[in-house]
């Protein structure tokens, strides 16, 4: 319980969680410290607490999602909130209602937390200006996916004991990846050394300006890395050919033991999921129980989201409104 008491003093001075950009190191540590506590709580038989009792959380998803939506739903329920899911299919969104009208409608139902995923970059921020409750970005277009970066950070921190000064390679489709952007911001804020690796058609040269080293060759980029983050190839966002064939892509950029051999011996392997085995990652590597942290990432996802839901409702709860 001593840890729980310590977390009562955590301060997260933000109304929403719209992105990693703009957060400070202490903000991120604050979330991760609290998430550590929830990770332990989630291992117990009784995973529930009642801190969000009476509060309403709406998950508004304009894009398909399994793990992120489930993870937010579980997080809310474990904290005692009433959680409602709304997806774009089979709702008024399909009838042509605009984002801001949907926002006003939902706002009128007085939710305390809105978890939003949208296929347009910036859409969640736009929506956040029209509602009174806390808004959590569950992924906006190719812009940011902050809780993914936070759960990745928690996973790394628990395995490696730190984030600062680690060398982290983010590999694959950087261009279309909101996960990559959020991770680049977060890892830089936390003092890690960030590399991105991928074909030049999927790694914009100017991504350097976000504070990363760019590599077009896997073995060069993976050399001496502590952490290897693979990204899903987002073919649904690609218009026209970015590489010739899946086979060529896998040969050049798919993570297998051969390419991994240049990384540090204890390099951990991560993937935000869903994985395309045989496209960006070799099945044997993905299933490597020692080096792959992919299942742990999912587990930490729930804990990180519980921490975010907790922190963003604190002021409201404390003021007793």
């Amino acid at each position: 319980m001593s840890k729980a008491e310590n977390t009562a003093n955590l301060i997260f001075p933000h109304q929403h969680l719209l992105g990693i950009e703009g957060l400070k190191e202490q903000d991120i540590n604050c979330i991760l410290d609290l998430a550590d506590k929830y990770a332990e709580q989630n291992k117990k038989t009784n995973k529930k607490s009642d801190i969000l009792t009476g509060m309403t959380q709406i998950n508004l998803f304009y894009e398909n999602s399994t793990r992120t939506r489930m993870s937010f739903e579980l997080a809310g329920k474990r904290l005692g909130a009433d959680v409602i899911n709304m997806t774009s299919s089979g709702s008024s969104i399909k009838k042509g209602e605009t984002l801001l009208d949907t926002a006003s409608t939902l706002n009128a139902m007085r939710p305390d937390l809105l978890v939003v995923r949208h296929d347009c970059s910036g859409a969640v921020k736009l929506l956040s200006r029209k509602v009174n409750c806390a808004v959590l970005n569950a992924g906006d277009g190719t812009h940011e996916h902050p809780t993914q970066a936070l759960l990745d950070a928690l996973t790394i921190r628990r395995r490696k004991g730190k984030i600062a000064r680690l060398t982290v390679a983010i590999c694959g489709d950087i261009l279309h990846s909101r996960v990559a952007r959020s991770n680049i911001h977060l890892l830089n804020i936390m003092g890690a050394r960030v590399r991105v690796i991928g074909p030049s058609t999927l790694v914009p040269a100017n991504v350097k300006e976000l504070g990363v080293e760019v590599f077009y060759d896997m073995k060069e980029g993976l050399k001496d890395c502590d952490v290897v983050m693979m990204l899903r190839l987002q073919t649904e966002r690609m218009h026209g050919g970015y590489f010739p064939t899946i086979s060529e892509y896998f040969t050049l950029y798919g993570l297998d033991y051969e390419k991994l051999s240049v990384a540090k011996d204890d390099a951990m392997i991560m993937h935000p999921g869903p994985m395309n085995r045989g496209v960006e990652i070799d099945a044997a590597v993905a299933d490597d129980l020692i080096r792959s942290a992919i299942q742990e990432q999912v587990e930490m996802g729930v804990a990180v989201r519980m921490a975010c839901l907790d922190l963003l409702t604190r002021e409201k709860r404390d003021s007793g409104k």
């Binding site: 984002l99 347009c120 970059s121 910036g122 736009l126 277009g141 812009h143 991504v207």
Partner: protein
């Protein structure tokens, strides 16, 4: 009532003749009768004291979108006219991007008839290709014979080079001006802002400057083989300026324009996903913005346009990549352009030339000059008064200006068309 009006105590500015002096200007029956330092007015003449302010030809804006026909909730002819005169604009060239599209003489006449309600001159630019589809040319010959000055596909490129070559050849028989929107569709259609580091950070797809420059280079090549009258509607980047400078040195018959936002704002205006600054072509980098100013200075760019494009707020209050492009600009064209003078970039007469005599010469208009016998389309403005741009004070129905709150210097205080003061600033 006398038909003489004397504008006295004015700083007369005529970019065409390089006139810049304190003096007086007399008009009679809507035409300029006399220009001089000291004019004795005929008895009974109306006398307007300009209080030492600047008097220049009414501005000519070569790129204005209207809501008529098809979208009068955006802007009516009267609104567009009101917005124009607030900005000292007395002639607007209307883009054919309407519903239905202005692509034949009947529709040109429809627009001209509707425009009679406005206080200013509307010059419709009909489409180059039917329905703006880029497939078949419109009746360029018949429309030219009926007085049409120029053709454009508005915010679409004539992308097919074979068709463009035929258009240039065909239009040259009628001395018709072809106004081209520069954008290779394959490079621009999926993009919604300038390609670069900011686009990467915001997670938005970019339009590279090459989309514009490639089309410009292609058209210059076609013009070298098949000389015609050609105007590049909007230039936004360094590479295009370099190409233009070289083409003009090679005596290619080409003129070019720039919209006010492209020399007064850069891509960072859309940071935070500001849809009101979403344009086509998009706002570019700061280097490109400075290059465009250099292009205005060295003569690569002949014309400044507002690019006035009213958009219903409903089409702007959506996620950035779903938002319509376009900003309004008639009211702010002169004020924002005068920043180039106040910031010591470009001499005053040179700036005004790009909104008066240059477009007049390109379009073969009699206005745009202070000359005896020319139409008395006049713009009287206070060069120095500072103020803050406020969309609430604008006449446009839609308020999609990217300049909301911008502190600026210089304001139109009176706009005259012929015998009539069509706008007078009141505090």
């Amino acid at each position: 009532m006398s038909q003489y009006i004397l504008y006295k105590n004015a700083r007369l500015l005529d970019p065409d003749s390089r006139l810049d002096m304190m003096g007086e200007l007399l008009t009679h029956k809507g035409l300029i009768q006399e220009i001089g330092a000291n004019i004795t007015p005929p008895s009974g003449a109306e006398i307007i004291d300009c209080m030492g302010h600047c008097l220049c030809p009414g501005l000519i804006d070569m790129r204005v979108f209207v809501g008529i026909p098809g979208a009068d909730y955006k802007d009516t002819i009267e609104n567009t006219g009101e917005a124009a005169v607030m900005g000292g604009v007395t002639t607007v060239c209307v883009q054919p991007v309407t519903d239905p599209i202005i692509d034949d003489m009947a529709r040109v006449e429809f627009l001209e008839n509707r425009a009679k309600k406005a206080k200013i001159t509307f010059i419709p630019f009909p489409a180059i290709t039917k329905q703006l589809e880029g497939m078949e040319m419109t009746e360029i010959g018949l429309m030219s014979r009926s007085g049409v000055k120029a053709f454009t596909d508005g915010n679409k490129s004539v992308a097919n080079p074979a068709l463009m070559l035929r258009v240039l050849k065909y239009a040259s028989m009628f001395d018709a001006l072809i106004v081209q929107h520069l954008a290779v569709p394959e490079l621009s259609d999926n993009g919604c802002m300038n390609a670069g580091a900011l686009a990467t950070r915001l997670g938005l797809s970019g339009v590279p400057t090459a989309a514009e420059t490639i089309m410009l280079e292609r058209d210059i090549r076609l013009l070298k083989n098949s000389p015609s009258r050609y105007h590049a509607a909007q230039i936004t980047c360094q590479d295009s300026i370099d190409v233009l400078v070289a083409a003009k040195r090679d005596k290619v018959n080409i003129t070019a324009g720039v919209a006010v936002p492209h020399f007064s704002l850069n891509e960072y205006a859309i940071e935070d996903y500001r849809t009101f600054a979403r344009l086509s072509p998009p706002l570019r980098s700061e280097n490109d913005r400075l290059a465009v100013i250099e292009g205005l200075k060295n003569g690569a760019i002949d014309v400044i346009v507002s690019g006035h494009d009213p958009e219903d707020p409903e089409n702007k209050r959506v996620p950035y990549q779903l938002a319509e492009t376009g900003v309004i600009g008639l009211e702010t064209m002169l004020s924002v352009s005068l920043e180039l003078y106040h910031n010591d970039h470009i001499p005053l007469l040179d700036i005004l030339a790009k909104m008066t005599c240059n477009p007049a010469r390109i379009l073969g208009l009699e206005s745009g000059v202070l000359k005896v016998g020319a139409p008395a389309d006049l713009c009287i403005f206070d060069l120095n008064v500072p103020y803050q741009i406020n969309p609430d004070n604008m006449a446009s129905l839609t308020k999609n200006t990217p300049f909301d709150g911008r502190p600026t210097q210089g304001r139109v205080i009176r706009t005259v068309v012929g015998d009539t003061t069509v706008f007078e600033y009141s505090k």
